[in-house]
């Protein structure tokens, strides 16, 4: 059975949070933080930086609660802020003298005999990481918002600052790139 916290709608929670109710904001955090943390982890590929980025995102969300006009768009708005935090972290990293580590290619070559089984094998997370790392930051952000976090195309357009058509084009291209990478893996696994 769902508790009162789980049943409350985004609208009700936002209304209470805007009125200064800390418990309401905590519920928003509990609901949305895992998605934001995973999104930032996928973009930053660094656990400590993703933790820090998640904290920064929610502090900014709290500061800007009053600026969100349509509460139905909470998730898109939140991911838009998370992406801004990510971009700032990247800029800071680039200013540092130490060059970032190149993304690791961790595709396994000894997977089981069936491509389907290979796709859902224990290495699938690594395989997916490798495939996502091959995408540009923008495409990766848009694709993940769609396929991992279930945002609508309109919400993604708003979060990315793109037209609806551009969102559809970029997600389509990102999917093709992802599939090329995954298909290579499946072929290796099937050999």
């Amino acid at each position: 059975m769902l508790g009162a916290r789980e049943r409350e709608s985004d609208e009700e929670l936002l209304s209470r949070a805007r009125a200064g109710d800390p418990e309401a904001f905590r519920v928003i955090f509990d609901r949305e933080a895992p998605g934001v943390r995973r999104f930032l982890g996928d973009l930053l590929r660094d656990d400590a930086a993703a933790d820090e980025g998640t904290q920064e995102t929610f502090v900014r969300v709290h500061q800007r609660l009053g600026t969100l006009s349509e509460s139905g768009k909470l998730q898109g708005w939140l991911f838009g802020i998370a992406r801004m935090v990510f971009l700032e972290q990247i800029r800071r990293k680039r200013r540092d003298a130490v060059p970032p580590e190149p993304p690791e290619e961790s595709l396994a070559t000894d997977a089981g005999p069936s491509p389907e089984a290979a796709l859902l094998s224990a290495e699938s997370d690594q395989m997916l990481d490798g495939a996502l790392a091959g995408l540009s930051e923008e495409r990766r952000s848009a694709l993940l918002m769609r396929i991992d976090h279930g945002l609508g195309y309109g919400e993604i357009a708003s979060a990315m600052g793109w037209s609806l058509q551009k969102v559809k084009n970029e997600i389509h291209r990102a999917r093709l790139q992802l599939r090329t990478h995954l298909a290579g893996y499946l072929e290796e696994g099937a050999r």
């Binding site: 800390p22 904290q55 699938s124 997370d125």
Partner: protein, 219 residues
């Protein structure tokens, strides 16, 4: 029927009801290899995403709650630096506006002291004393801003990782040396003086970065 729209395909892959008639879509997919392949990929995508674990986030809340209770104030050095650097940047911008249009740029002279000593000093066109005064003021503002940041870095430095502090020291020392050399050969050449101001702006950016990182390392 044309191919199934991607939104409908995504709904089917997610186990939701598509916008168009499900029967019509199912009939099309049964006959269209391209749509069937697309749906298979979308389902595989969905399955891959669903397998990913949710990262723990409870441990992140205490720091957020603390920041909401006690928001960070802008550090005092940031205010002082902004004022000084802002004034210097504004002065430099005015100088750019005054000097760039209609005046051919003076070719950059490599700072080779031996050659300069051997050659006779090239006569320069007379420069408006007000311009020189503005350059001096802008440079002074940058120097003041740098002093604030250098002081702040000195305060934070003992708590830093020694290797990191040593690397930052080297970088800053190198930047200061380059600035000093440029300034020494600039004399009253406006173009070179402008480049010196650019150098100060870059030095300030480096210092600001170092101080911010030091503060974050020692909250």
């Amino acid at each position: 029927m044309t191919h199934v729209p991607i939104e409908d395909m995504e709904s089917i892959a997610a186990g939701e009801r598509p916008g168009q008639s499900p029967v019509e879509i199912a009939t099309h997919i049964a006959q269209c290899a391209e749509c069937a392949r697309e749906l298979a990929w979308l389902r595989a995508e969905k399955a891959l995403m669903a397998r990913r674990p949710s990262p723990p986030t409870d441990h992140l809340w205490p720091a957020i709650a603390a920041r909401l209770r006690h928001p960070r104030r802008r550090p005092h050095w940031a205010v002082r630096v902004s004022l000084a650097a802002g004034a210097a940047a504004a002065a430099a911008a005015v100088l750019v506006a005054v000097f760039r249009p209609g005046r051919p740029p003076v070719p950059a002279q490599p700072p080779q002291r031996e050659q300069q000593a051997a050659r006779p000093v090239r006569p320069r066109a007379a420069i408006d004393p007000k311009t020189l005064a503005a350059l001096d003021r802008a440079e002074e503002d940058y120097r003041n801003a740098a002093k604030v940041l250098e002081g702040e870095y000195e305060r934070l430095r003992p708590q830093l990782d020694p290797d990191l502090a040593r690397r930052w020291d080297e970088t800053l020392t190198r930047a200061r040396a380059q600035l000093g050399e440029s300034r020494a050969v600039a004399a009253d050449d406006v173009n070179v003086r402008m480049r010196v101001l650019d150098g100060y702006a870059g030095y300030l950016r480096s210092l600001r970065y170092v101080v911010q990182e030091s503060e974050e390392a020692n909250p």
